[in-house]
């Protein structure tokens, strides 16, 4: 996927492959969600506001105007754990297909850093 980018954009970047056999089934995803703890006031206010909305248009409008700008690092880490490495891989793949600038690649790199940590704890030791 990275090779599909222009030579100019690829210049200066190196690709490191992830290894390991990830077992991430529905039961694990559900349990991770149950173990999620949010404390950030910004996120809690967002969730509280979301809980008052029952239709698609209203939720879309709320989400369209919400960013992660003031969210705490701790809550972002919690949410990334609950999400897991597979959806992050989907997002990385989706973003790579559209990347046109170094800034966008830096964003992908940031997500990949977090995914690497997730993979390191979720890969059975025998397959690492």
């Amino acid at each position: 996927m990275f090779e599909a980018l222009s030579a100019k954009l690829r210049d200066g970047w190196e690709v490191e492959l992830e290894h390991g056999d990830i077992r991430d089934d529905a039961a694990h995803r559900a349990m991770r969600l149950q173990l999620l703890h949010l404390h950030d006031p910004t996120l809690l206010a967002f969730v509280k506001r979301g809980s008052t909305l029952n239709d698609v248009d209203a939720i879309v409008a709320l989400m369209s105007t919400t960013t992660l700008k003031n969210v705490s690092d701790a809550d972002l880490a919690e949410l990334c754990f609950a999400l897991g490495p597979v959806p992050l891989t989907r997002i990385i793949g989706d973003l790579l297909k559209q990347a046109k600038t170094d800034d966008e690649l830096e964003g992908i790199q940031a997500i990949a850093f977090v995914r690497h940590s997730l993979l390191s704890v979720m890969t059975p030791s025998s397959s690492r």
Partner: protein, 207 residues
């Protein structure tokens, strides 16, 4: 409870085909540290630690089984065999989470991850990562439970530009938990849910 979902390819910005929003969410007993702490009146850290050892899980299992009838009244689908599996799963995931949080907060990685978090926080609204994280937060908080159970959360994802990604991932069951989760356990506190007055009759003897 039934769960319907429209093909994401059919979901457009003009889609007003929102499904019936009234669904019944059956209560489930999920052995999270918060919930176990509440039901067994043990310290949360002690419970979390116990969940990560075979002996600890056995102790928790035995204590819970002393209150099987009470648990059945809370969760009619309560099953002792399933409880054992859930306790093992909770222990495994807790262990993974502890290692992950230690890793991202380790002195060697803290600087690198700090930059990564800042980069993520700078993503614009409707960025795929932002949208995915916000959907997850809504589900976790129980705010989107009805939307999720009726499949309308997929419409939200589609309207925010994640239709293709969610569609492909959900076909493989990869993107989000496959069933509506129960809201965070009563007493967890983070979302302001008050604890029940008396979780399990007779529970709470010191260990």
């Amino acid at each position: 409870m039934s769960q319907s979902s429209a093909p994401l390819a059919d979901a457009t910005s003009d889609d007003r085909d929102q499904r019936e929003s009234r669904v019944e969410i059956a209560p489930k007993f999920v052995p999270t540290p918060e919930r176990l702490s509440q039901y067994l009146e043990m310290n949360i850290k002690e419970v979390a630690s116990a969940l990560q050892s075979v002996e600890g899980r056995q102790m928790i299992y035995q204590k819970l089984m002393e209150h099987q009838q009470a648990l059945l009244s809370i969760d009619p689908s309560f099953n002792p065999d399933l409880l054992r599996e859930q306790l093992e799963l909770a222990g495994e995931v807790l262990h993974q989470k502890e290692r992950y949080l230690q890793d991202v907060q380790s002195p060697e990685k803290k600087g690198l991850l700090k930059k990564a978090w800042e980069k993520m926080k700078g993503f614009a609204g409707r960025h795929p990562f932002v949208t995915t994280i916000l959907i997850l937060a809504l589900i976790a908080g129980g705010a989107a439970l009805t939307l999720y159970a009726t499949g309308n959360l997929e419409l939200v994802a589609a309207r925010l530009g994640l239709g293709k990604m969610f569609g492909a991932a959900d076909a493989a069951g990869e993107m989000m938990p496959p069933a509506p989760v129960t809201p965070l356990p009563p007493g967890a506190g983070e979302l302001g849910i008050p604890p029940p007055a008396n979780p399990i009759p007779g529970a709470g003897k010191p260990i």
